[in-house]
Subunit: 153 residues, 2 copies
DNA sequence: ATAATTCCTATAGCCACTGCAGCTTCAAGT
DNA sequence: ACTTGAAGCTGCAGTGGCTATAGGAATTAT
């Protein structure tokens, strides 16, 4: 129906289905240079071969792992030079792991504070609500630094 | 220097220092209606009393807890009606806690996958790099669902 | 009086997409 | 051959929660 089991090139929709991403995302990746400009059909529609499917799969997978587009750009550069040592790939991945672990720690501290706050509520009216109170007064937190404004994306 | 220990109103910079946030953020909050339009000096500069400091502290604190601006809008509405029952406050906080726990779970699964991936690298060149390989081939992941594209903000 | 600082508005940028409007092209069915 | 509907095209706006900058006016310090 929409696949090309033989060598014929794919439409953008087929590529999107195969890579499990949206059509617009593919065009966006082309626009920012993660994917090369696609060759066009006579009617100006993009046509793709398997190489782009692999590249796109790589990109989506790396995004699922939380790598930024800039990091992926570097990873793709490295993957395009297979004879170079993989130290930089390793370093990039380790840096990302550290970032994830740091976010995890912040989010975990946040969860604890939030759970503690929620546990304080025993019904009643808003003016005796411990949650509102806790949000109003930073001193009611266990530690200042536990969730202090750092980006916890 | 810049504080007003007596009853005189504060400038936006003083308010920003006291609430530990940026001047632009205050103007932004006014713009989106989290803070009321500030009264102005003769020269059109914003002047603030302590009430706004408290409101802003509440907002910043709730943001530190990861509440969205929309959620904070609701919390402020509730805080402005102290005689109402606090059920809704409680429900909002519990919902947010659940959201945080779900993010935490996703991020934790991601961390595990990433750590596993990083551990596979034993040096060498890029074409034998297990990290690149893992990113290229989703089948090398333990479980499909562990980090599959869900927003893990 | 002057200099340094802070304030004002308006606008653009961040990230990684997503959605829409208004049009053209393609593939399948009759 | 013709119609129809799906899928494609470009370009632009919007998301969230700020942050940064430009160019000018007001305030404060010396």
């Amino acid at each position: 129906m929409m696949s090309t089991p033989d060598g014929r090139p794919m439409s953008i929709g087929t590529l999107a289905d195969r890579a499990r991403c949206k059509v617009q995302t593919i065009r966006y990746y082309e626009q920012i240079g993660l994917l090369p400009p696609a060759p066009r059909s006579a009617g100006n529609q993009r046509r793709y071969g398997d190489a782009v499917l692999h590249r796109l799969t790589f990109i989506r997978h790396a995004r699922d792992f939380g790598f930024s587009v800039e990091a992926i750009r570097e990873l793709l550069d490295m993957a395009d030079h297979p004879t170079m040592p993989c130290d930089e790939v390793d370093a990039l991945a380790r840096r990302h792991l550290q970032e994830v672990e740091s976010r995890l720690a912040r989010l975990s501290a946040l969860r604890d504070e939030l759970a503690r706050m929620v546990a304080l509520c025993h019904g009643g009216s808003v003016d005796e609500c411990r949650i509102i109170e806790a949000l109003s007064d930073h001193r009611l937190c266990r530690q200042e630094a536990s969730h202090g404004g750092a980006s916890l994306k």
